[in-house]
Symmetry: C2
Subunit: 298 residues, 2 copies
């Protein structure tokens, strides 16, 4: 198993001209070894977000050139496993998060991970469900910091990007230039306080190049659904884009006229929030596989 | 069992000075017989939203005076059962719904209900899960049409207001003045096309007056969670209010300092969308009961 480590290279931007630190073949399974989202700067509860060197925050291991992928293709990343460290943390700071204006002072909470549970307190132990917070490719033109989510992926903070599920990303540049990091041991929809349980870890994933799929934005596949993900400056705009994409997916994949798919989505496809805290917000329309005949091709 | 029917009275507004059509005692179980949201105006697929007399749309059966309830109390409505008619409908029209600008012309689809399934097409049969779309009380001051959701309830379009679950509404006026209607046989989070399966039906519910609960906005109780509901002109604002309320509920109900509850919500409480199509939008923070010790009292 080939390992690509943050020690080989970390990117803090998704730009059109990324220089790869490694290459993978379509169909290859590799490991991405990742620092936590704060690049290891938080070691104790005395370390808070306001003290950090922000140039070392939200790094993604990579980028990796995916051999043979070119603009117009799609890469599928099947998450085979995510192993996390023995502890993670949550941090809050005034001005960030849904209730950033209610935070009195910066605080960090260290959360041990024991036997698959996050030990939030003596009473509150929650089963971990690790996911990849940031996963993206080189975008078509403008450079994005890794704080942003967008059509290229990036800081999607979508809890379903977890073991057993897959992410589909449109390819905009030769070789795709895949990078990932920002693992969370656990997070809820919204990520309301601005952090999940931020943690170092290793992602094992199979990368495949797919041809002939129509896709402008990221898609997540779980055992029972397709999720059309969209990011925009506001939740309202992200929700509209995700609905647009999801209804189109449903119409094509279920052989329905657009207006029938639009109605069906309203009764069978949940419109949900991935995160409501990053510089852009991410929404998802959840399309049950039971409604679909196939993933639509162009 | 006492029945209160739309034939006795329907309200199209939630105002501070509603005149009750009936009274209920705290602890009493009654039936509310409701027209569909379009007041029976849609009979075939030729009847579309653009043709309707809008003065007869989204009526709520009631209002009912809840004996002994006064401003500062809370009423709990436990939904015991919802029986629906043999058919419902979905309608779309340009300018309404998340993708209202993509709708070419008004359309209505009649959906038969057979053996507990909504027959969307020969291939697509979906189990119904009826819920109450509009449920509210007299607000403190301003009059709201029943199209709006707000702190008084109203057009919440929250799919969890269904059999076995309860809604808690703050009381602002003597007697609460409870009204409900707008039943959906099925709806997904978002209600993206602007209609669920709109249908006539009968709601059986127990109404209780509760004292000493702190509550400014509606709350929904399911078997495993408390949902703090909030409505506002945008999804972004509604999401912020729901998070504010839900975190406060969690802090008080779990005996946690506010900052710990804020962090815990970020990993354990999903921020979700009830509806993204009414004149105001409704969001919900889902607080698992497993985290709570009790429902906080003032």
């Amino acid at each position: 198993m080939r390992r690509i480590s943050f020690q080989d290279g970390v990117t803090y931007t998704f730009g059109p001209d990324l220089t790869p630190i490694a290459t993978v073949r379509s169909g290859e399974t590799v490991e991405f070894v990742c620092q936590d989202a704060c690049g290891g700067q938080i070691r104790t509860e005395k370390d808070t977000l306001d003290q950090l060197d922000m140039d070392q925050v939200n790094g993604a291991t990579g980028p990796v050139r995916v051999i043979g992928s070119r603009a117009g293709d799609v890469i599928r990343i099947q998450i085979r496993d995510i192993r996390v460290a023995e502890w993670g943390f949550q941090s809050i700071v005034s001005g960030h998060g849904v209730l950033g204006d209610e935070v009195d002072r910066p605080r960090t909470k260290v959360i041990p991970i024991q036997d698959g549970f996050a030990v939030f307190s003596k009473r509150i132990r929650l089963p971990v469900r690790p996911h990849v917070g940031t996963i993206g490719v080189a975008p078509p033109a403008k450079e994005w910091t890794t704080f942003y989510p967008g059509d290229h992926g990036g800081n999607l903070d979508t809890k379903e990007i977890s073991k057993g599920n897959s992410v589909y990303l449109p390819v905009f540049q030769p070789g795709a230039q895949l990078a990932m990091g920002d693992i969370h041991a656990l997070m809820a929809d919204g990520e309301v306080c601005v952090t999940g349980i931020e943690i170092a870890g290793t992602i094992r994933a199979q990368v495949d190049v797919l041809r002939g799929l129509r896709m402008n934005r990221p898609l997540v596949e779980t055992s029972d659904s397709w999720m059309a993900l969209a990011s925009a400056p506001t939740l309202d705009e992200a929700a509209k884009l995700a609905t647009h994409d999801g209804v189109q997916l449903l119409a094509r994949g279920a052989d329905l006229p657009w207006h029938e798919a639009y109605m069906l989505a309203s009764i069978a496809c949940d419109l949900r929030i991935s995160q409501d805290v990053d510089p852009w917000r991410t929404a998802k329309l959840v399309v049950p596989k039971s409604l679909m005949r196939r993933l639509p091709r162009s």
